[in-house]
Symmetry: C2
Subunit: 283 residues, 2 copies
Amino acid sequence: MEAASTIAEVRERVGAWRREGKSVGLVPTMGYLHEGHQSLIERAAAECDRVVVSVFVNPTQFGPGEDLESYPRDFERDLAKCEAAGAALVFHPTPEEMYWPDRSTTIHMADISEELCGKSRPVHFDGVCLVVAKLFNIVTPDAAYFGEKDAQQLLVVRRMVRDLNFPLRIVGCPIVREADGLAKSSRNTYLSPDERLAATVLSRAIRAGQALAESGERDASAIRGAVRDVLVQEPLADVEYVEVVSQETVRPVQRIESPVLCAIAVRIGTTRLIDNFFYDPAA
Amino acid sequence: MEAASTIAEVRERVGAWRREGKSVGLVPTMGYLHEGHQSLIERAAAECDRVVVSVFVNPTQFGPGEDLESYPRDFERDLAKCEAAGAALVFHPTPEEMYWPDRSTTIHMADISEELCGKSRPVHFDGVCLVVAKLFNIVTPDAAYFGEKDAQQLLVVRRMVRDLNFPLRIVGCPIVREADGLAKSSRNTYLSPDERLAATVLSRAIRAGQALAESGERDASAIRGAVRDVLVQEPLADVEYVEVVSQETVRPVQRIESPVLCAIAVRIGTTRLIDNFFYDPAA
């Protein structure tokens, strides 16, 4: 496995693979990798000849007062995990390599970025779109792999790829969980031992909502109520949102008649955690 | 030469060329081709194995009250000109093929889109960026060819390519003029015979400004004054702007100390025409 910190190095490496007729997969990450990321890399390695993992804490997707500075970083450990999962190249640029001081191009995602996390993180998805578009153009992959954990991000990236005609496939991969159900997240490291115990309430709430949907409940408010009933039992949990939205429009639905996403955001202490399930009533 | 109206056909054709190791050039146009476009196609054919010409009157780059509906169209004549100039494929999609009804992704160009034409056409360059980004992703060319006649568009596209890391070269090509100096433009067809005569004032004004710059004048207001002095002699000419801007920032300069663009926009009757010259004091 190799590592590259410049765009030129990545292009040279990928260009050489292309001349050999190799297919290329991309796994964009912000580093501090966990088993969720590893599952993306393993999936990419199973489907593509060569896998590029980007490790870049992207400043444009953090809003004022968010955790850009404190976001956890451990590049040496990330390298070992990438290699173990089957990556061929790790791209770890500096912010200066990625962004010109006089950059003037932005990408805006309307509509589907406005609900859920978009409400409390108004610049987040535009920043995601910008860095993902750049990575697509730098790596020119055949496929890019994103976790379903960041469900709205996955839907936003799919929409950008569709609207701008990026010539690649987006592959969504299932949430990877701890033994007690907590969705793997780099931000779990922020949790104190008490908060770590309390954080299991998210996955218990999600399971309750999912069970109700699978039992045939089609009233979205009943699903939201069931999820909320679990969350409010945890004194350390401060609920930001519990929503059932259309997978297509990312707008709240009354009745579940087409594929939906049930998504929650909850603060445990000062740490903001998210979890979700996708549900298709026709499946 | 072939013609394609769907994105899938273009991808199939370009994919086949790629497998044969061919390089690909793209010439994006709005059709109603003239010798200016033909010079772009010929340049692309000289530098690339295969040339794709897109013919698409892009609705997203027209503002309310602009000439989207009346913009001249003659696809059969365009096909003949493309073939004569050496194109291998003409891509002529419908608006429905290019834009999803629920599209939610936009590209915004700040700063360098705000002066010159950006003042009177506030949505124009965002629309140009959107369609050009889509064409880049559909055709995946090695190089794309743009006329210097649309000077701000050329600078905007270069900036977008730089900021979003599109993996291709942008080639700017010189203005092609009628025998009497008028810059070739599809919109010249709007001019009545009297207006057509009056329209020569643009190129005479540009020549006056260029001669002054080449004689060593470094005061931008003197250049603007010389250009304006010519324009005001034509009673049918209504000046929208005469500006000398930095090629890098597209902001007005006082003194010419780095590469500049001197650009003008003038209405002759109801027809809006533009012209310009690039000048580098170090060249």
